[in-house]
């Protein structure tokens, strides 16, 4: 079945409307017509994660789109993983997924089951590092029919420090300080480089030419990070049509997961 996977519709036929799912027809040189079903769509939106000394913040907008249509103004992209029951009581890991929402939901449920089974079988909570590697394997297991999502996983590591892992759709992953994903990733990421990792910032009058000292990146306090996240999304909303409606934030600390919702522009 994997070999049946077909290439996405050519880029020259405009934005990926959901109603593009009506027959994608290829006409060959000999005049035969082949209809094909394309199993993916893009539901837009953006996510963002930043880790600090003793916390991790994940954020995502709550708009769901197909083409130029807004499906809904509130479809969360952030999911608690593990914990007790359907409310994930006592959970300390958050997964954010952006891209094809149906794959995102399927992926979330797979990972949630794995983390819950781990608790039942071993009698202890799964560490973020273990969960991160397991997520990579889940994604790579579908290497030839991928989950079409950019995932970001957040939690606290075994020393209690903020931990953040980002993934590509086929499971290659990396622990990072900050990461933006989704439709407005290209807008948000350079802003984060500058404001979180202090890229291209130097200490004034610290030397001439190559002696000039770069400003050292430090772990940011929680309220600074929250402000940066809001600024990043306010900027993205202004310049990207698929981002908007609401901002959902999850802050993971040693006391658990705090969820904050704030409105974004709805236009």
């Amino acid at each position: 079945m994997a070999s049946v996977f077909t290439a996405p519709p050519l880029a020259d036929n405009g934005p990926g409307y959901s109603f593009k799912q009506t027959p994608t027809t290829h006409i060959s040189a000999d005049g035969t017509r082949q209809h094909s079903f394309y199993p993916y769509t893009d539901n837009g939106g953006s996510t963002l994660g930043i880790s600090g000394a003793d916390f991790t913040i994940l954020a995502g907008d709550t708009r769901s789109t197909s083409g130029y249509n807004i499906n809904s103004r509130y479809v969360p992209k952030l999911f608690k993983i593990g914990g007790e029951g359907p409310e994930h009581t006592g959970s300390s890991i958050v997964l954010s997924v952006v891209g094809f929402a149906a794959d995102g939901d399927a992926l979330k449920e797979r990972l949630d089951t794995v983390v819950k089974m781990y608790k039942y079988q071993h009698g202890k909570n799964m560490s973020v590092a273990a969960c991160a590697q397991r997520l990579s394997h889940i994604l790579y297991n579908k290497r030839f029919f991928p989950y079409y999502v950019h995932a970001i996983l957040g939690g606290l590591d075994e020393e209690g420090k903020g931990a953040l892992y980002s993934y590509d759709p086929v499971g290659s992953y990396e622990r990072e300080q900050c990461r933006a994903a989704g439709a407005a990733a290209s807008l948000i990421m350079p802003f984060l480089d500058n404001q979180v990792n202090y890229k291209n910032q130097y200490i004034p009058a610290s030397g001439y030419g190559h002696d000039l000292q770069p400003r050292k990146a430090e772990l940011l306090p929680r309220n600074t990070v929250e402000e940066l996240v809001r600024d990043a999304f306010d900027s993205a909303v202004e310049r990207h049509i698929e981002v908007g409606d609401g901002l959902q934030m999850m802050i993971i600390t040693k006391d658990g997961i705090e969820e904050v919702y704030s409105p974004l522009k709805k236009d």
Partner: protein, 272 residues
């Protein structure tokens, strides 16, 4: 026609060429739906303080041909859930059979297990709209992952675990979402803006009464009939409340306004 019975009822070879038997092949590669054939257009629905109103017209089109004019595209499930189907009608009928078997299985098992410990079967926990939507999303997502999609977009209306009105959508890719008002197909362009004026957000659902909700849906059906070429003026409407479902399947659009038509060429009122 000749005297050979195998040729009777078949296109004549001398006129149409040899008959292509490949269409009747039962062996060979597995086939799956790659495009919808007989289709239903928009489904629209809106939540209000005590429940959900949902509607579709009664038309099944074959391309641009209005082929079947009495097709019911709202389906009741259990006592308080309605599903509205857009897209391929044969896939809808398959899902109808699937849901029937699910209902029989589910109600039989819950009835017998409940009667073990109590005689009271009146407030049995059966599948509610939220449970059914989850079930539908798994069916649809599984079929798309097998590259054999069920070519529908479905709205599920009823109540959730919290007894609050529930409305959600699932489509042929398994994509799911929920909103105070939902519309499929052309309705997403024409009806959704009208409905969003009435319920812009979840909070405003609590302030919407049944009469306004029903009237909004009826207005939307009229707009859809005016501007969606694949629609019809006969429609079904269902009001889902705690007291049960009020399903009407033979509604006719009323108070249509064609006053503008006599000034426009193409409506048959002008000869030259």
């Amino acid at each position: 026609m000749n005297h050979l019975p195998q040729a009777w009822g078949r296109p004549r070879d001398d006129v149409y060429g040899a008959y292509d038997h490949s269409y009747f092949q039962t062996s060979g590669p597995k086939q799956s739906t790659q495009q919808p054939i007989v289709t239903g257009t928009s489904v629209i629905a809106i939540k209000f303080k005590d429940g959900v109103v949902i509607a579709t017209d009664n038309l099944a089109s074959y391309g641009s041909l209005a082929r079947f004019t009495d097709v019911k595209r709202l389906r009741q499930f259990n006592k308080s859930t309605i599903l509205g189907f857009g897209g391929d009608v044969s896939d809808m009928q398959y899902l109808d059979r699937l849901l029937l078997s699910l209902a029989i299985r589910e109600n039989y098992s819950s009835y017998s297990s409940a009667s073990d410990d109590t005689d009271d079967t009146s407030n049995l926990e059966s599948l509610n709209a939220k449970n059914l939507h989850t079930y539908m999303s798994k069916v649809m997502y599984r079929r798309r992952s097998d590259f054999n999609p069920l070519w529908n977009q479905i709205l599920v209306a009823g109540f959730g675990n919290d007894e609050k009105p529930f409305l959600a959508s699932v489509d042929l890719l398994g994509t799911t979402f929920s909103s105070p008002s939902l519309a499929t197909g052309f309705g997403a362009h024409l009806a959704q803006p009208i409905m969003r004026k009435v319920v812009p957000d979840e909070a405003s659902v609590a302030n919407l009464d049944k009469e306004t909700a029903v009237q909004t849906i009826r207005d939307c059906m009229k707009v859809l009939f005016y501007r969606d070429a694949r629609s019809m003026d006969k429609y079904s409407i269902a009001v889902v409340t705690k007291d049960g479902i009020d399903l009407k399947e033979d509604e006719k659009l009323e108070n249509q306004s064609w006053a503008f038509a006599d000034r426009i060429k193409g409506y048959g009122t002008q000869v030259v």
